[in-house]
């Protein structure tokens, strides 16, 4: 994500480089690599008040991994797409959505190039810190009014939510729902 990551800065000029998923190269690579290789690699920091740190290269030095270093491209069966949609509650079953997903996976596949044998995965940057323990004394709470004000819908000090968990319609039902909405 961060390779694309020039977040919009103030006073921005048309020089913003945005990820463009419509740019397909024939080897299936994400757009950025070819974009950065061939095009403007002059990434400058706009409106910065500090001098350029010599440790940061002036020009991007990152090179994409070659196709032979990567595992075979992941196939995403329809069941998996359905499961992902259910977990994330996001509809992405369109051609565009699926292509985006495939490219994202391909981009992440580059991690396989790194040799992680005998290296424990890190799941928290706090792993070397001691976990702070709290004494069992009441220090918070009693702010019902404040919290309820944050909600659009309340009834007598309760938050109001839609009924239960409306189960997601089945694959077929949703496909037809999408079809209808696209019309």
């Amino acid at each position: 994500m961060s390779a694309f990551g020039l977040v919009a800065k103030r006073g921005v000029s048309p020089k913003i480089i945005r990820p463009s998923f419509n740019l397909l190269t024939n080897d299936g690579y994400s757009a950025a690599s070819s974009f950065l290789q061939g095009h403007n690699t002059n990434i400058t920091r706009l409106l910065s008040s500090q001098p350029h740190n010599p440790k940061v290269p002036k020009v991007a030095t990152w090179e994409p991994a070659s196709e032979d270093q990567l595992p075979p491209p992941a196939q995403i069966p329809a069941d998996l797409v359905d499961k992902l949609e259910r977990l994330a509650l996001v509809d992405f079953r369109t051609k565009q959505g699926l292509a985006c997903l495939e490219k994202a996976i391909r981009f992440a596949d580059q991690l396989h190039v790194v040799d992680t044998s005998s290296v424990e995965p890190m799941d928290s940057v706090l792993e070397d810190r001691a976990l702070n323990l709290r004494a069992d004394a009441v220090t918070e709470g009693g702010c019902a009014e404040e919290l309820l004000q944050l909600s659009k819908n309340t009834i007598e000090e309760y938050f109001v939510a839609p009924p239960g968990n409306i189960p997601l319609p089945t694959k077929e039902e949703r496909a037809s729902m999408l079809k209808h909405s696209e019309l």
């Binding site: 928290s124 019902a144 939510a161 009924p163």
Partner: protein, 526 residues
């Protein structure tokens, strides 16, 4: 109890297989399949997932209060409401509670354990995830030993064990009140973030009775430890049962979950119902449907990035230098303050008072009964084995009849002790004592002595009076007297009964028997 009809089956090899009742190896509550079905019987397999609310002042990761009843959303901190910018801070009391519970259940305490996020969508889970310990929980590999009264007369203490896979710390969710009329759900987050210990038990049980006994024992243990108050009706102890059936030796069948149970009694019935339901389906040739929800499929887990690993130290010697005492959880320290567990208590009562194991079991199983029993013993000269009879048969019997707890008993320990004294010192007979007990139960506050005096129930030991009554009975029952003289000693009891009727049960039975024997034998001498 189903009486098994022993049936004889002939296999192709024409050897005879005799199928007998195996109620000792299987729960009696399971019905026996018909003789025509396959030689192997379907048995139930029950695994329990128990959520125990930790008895602490504040929640697991925030400083808001833990209380059962409070105005909605009044016990909610910004973190509990999952407002952005808030972070979890672990409550030491919850860690101590989990370690103590793990030790009481003979678990291995993991020196290092980790926290994870379990993601799922539900309105009472404001963050969209629950912080739990799926990868490396705080305690693993324990055992729970439980007992129940079985055998023909339910007087045999049957002991079983169930393995505990793990104990993990996790957050509770808020409460949803469903308003189907207006198609909405009302959310109260008071419970959101309260610390839970999830205990996962291996599927070592085979029926509702075993599961109920295991839960009851766990309840007693947690209450003794003080780590959970174990009140099922208030949701402090929540049990989910995974039930399946299979033929022994074959792979396990499809599991179905039994949830939302708020009493131990109902748990047993619900599980047995489910076992029977599945057996019926399979015997009809159908298959059991698995109705688990999407989020049960073990996905949606990720490590909790805001919490470093939880380190627990074995003893004071292994503490890193300079560490603050209130930042260190030391297993040895907790082990030292473990209170007496129910199983130890039962054995101690048997040793100390010489009562039977099944009586000890009943004593410990009933809240407050041990204290009652010991309070009576302090004040009376009657031996413990006689007292236990009174406490279990009379007191507990009456309490159960009216669905009352020991604390609601209209007869206090001292009042009962007074009654027992009257019997021990010969002021009243044992049958009268039972009568007085009933009176005391009905008119709470009246002492035994008062009732005996009011109803004139004192033992009649006046020999002259007894002699004349006995004479009267002997004179008016010549046939019986003859039977006695001819060797039928048992008829004497009938005469005794008649005498007692005359004296309204107030005659000293020992004296009456002696007098009657004398009189009946005298006659034969003439």
């Amino acid at each position: 109890m189903n009486k098994q009809i022993s049936s004889i089956l002939y296999t192709k090899a024409s050897c005879v297989i005799r199928r007998l009742s195996t109620s000792s190896s299987r729960c009696r509550s399971q019905p026996q399949p018909r003789a025509e079905s396959a030689p192997q019987q379907l048995v139930g397999v029950v695994g329990l997932e128990i959520h125990a609310q930790i008895n602490s002042n504040t929640k697991l990761f925030s400083g808001s209060s833990v209380r059962f009843t409070a105005p909605p959303n009044s016990l909610v901190s910004f973190f509990d409401a999952s407002l952005p910018g808030t972070l979890p801070v672990l409550n030491k009391r919850c860690v101590d509670a989990a370690v103590m519970t793990g030790l009481a259940l003979s678990c291995t305490i993991n020196r290092m354990s980790l926290f994870d996020r379990k993601h799922y969508f539900y309105a009472d889970l404001p963050a969209g995830y629950q912080i739990t310990q799926q990868r490396r929980p705080i305690a693993v590999d324990g055992t729970l030993t439980y007992c129940f009264l079985g055998g023909k007369k339910r007087s045999q203490v049957i002991r079983k064990t169930v393995n505990i896979k793990q104990i993990q710390l996790e957050q509770d969710s808020g409460k949803s009140l469903h308003d189907d009329l207006r198609s909405q759900t009302l959310i109260d987050l008071n419970r959101a973030g309260v610390g839970l210990m999830e205990l996962v038990m291996e599927p070592d049980m085979s029926c509702g009775e075993e599961a109920a006994a295991a839960v009851r024992e766990l309840q007693l243990i947690l209450q003794a430890l003080g780590t959970c108050q174990g009140n099922m009706s208030e949701g402090q102890l929540r049990v989910d049962a995974n039930v399946s059936v299979h033929k022994p030796g074959e792979p396990l069948g499809i599991r179905a979950e039994v949830k939302n149970i708020n009493s131990v009694r109902y748990l047993a019935r619900a599980i047995d119902y489910e076992i029977q339901r599945q057996i019926d389906i399979l015997q009809r040739g159908g298959t059991v449907q698995n109705e688990t929800r999407a989020y049960d499929s073990k996905s949606g887990f990720m490590p909790e990035p805001n919490l470093p690993p939880l380190i627990v130290y074995e003893d004071n010697a292994s503490l890193p230098t300079g560490i603050d005492a209130c930042q260190a959880v030391v297993v040895e320290t907790i082990r030292k303050v473990l209170p007496e567990l129910p199983s130890v208590k039962r054995d101690r009562l048997v040793q100390t008072y010489g009562i039977l194991p099944e009586h000890s079991f009943t004593l410990v199983n009933e809240d407050g009964l041990v204290d009652y029993f010991e309070a009576v013993l302090k004040v009376t000269k009657m031996g413990p084995r006689k007292v236990i009879g009174w406490v279990i048969k009379e007191l507990l019997g009456h309490l159960k009849q009216q669905d009352m707890s020991v604390s609601q008993s209209p007869i206090s320990p001292s009042a009962l002790a007074e009654l027992l004294e009257l019997q021990e010192t010969g002021h009243i007979s044992s049958s009268v004592a039972g009568q007085v007990f009933q009176e005391m139960w009905k008119s709470s506050g009246k002492t035994a002595l008062q009732i005996v005096q009011e109803l004139d129930l004192g033992l009649v030991s006046d020999t002259a009076q007894l002699h004349s009554i006995c004479q009267k009975v002997v004179d008016s029952n010549p046939d019986e007297v003859n039977a006695i003289r001819n060797g039928n000693k048992k008829v004497l009891n009938k005469l005794m009964g008649l005498v007692q009727k005359e004296t309204k049960g107030r005659a000293d039975p020992v004296l009456v028997r002696a007098i009657l024997q004398e009189k009946t034998l005298l006659k034969s001498d003439c």
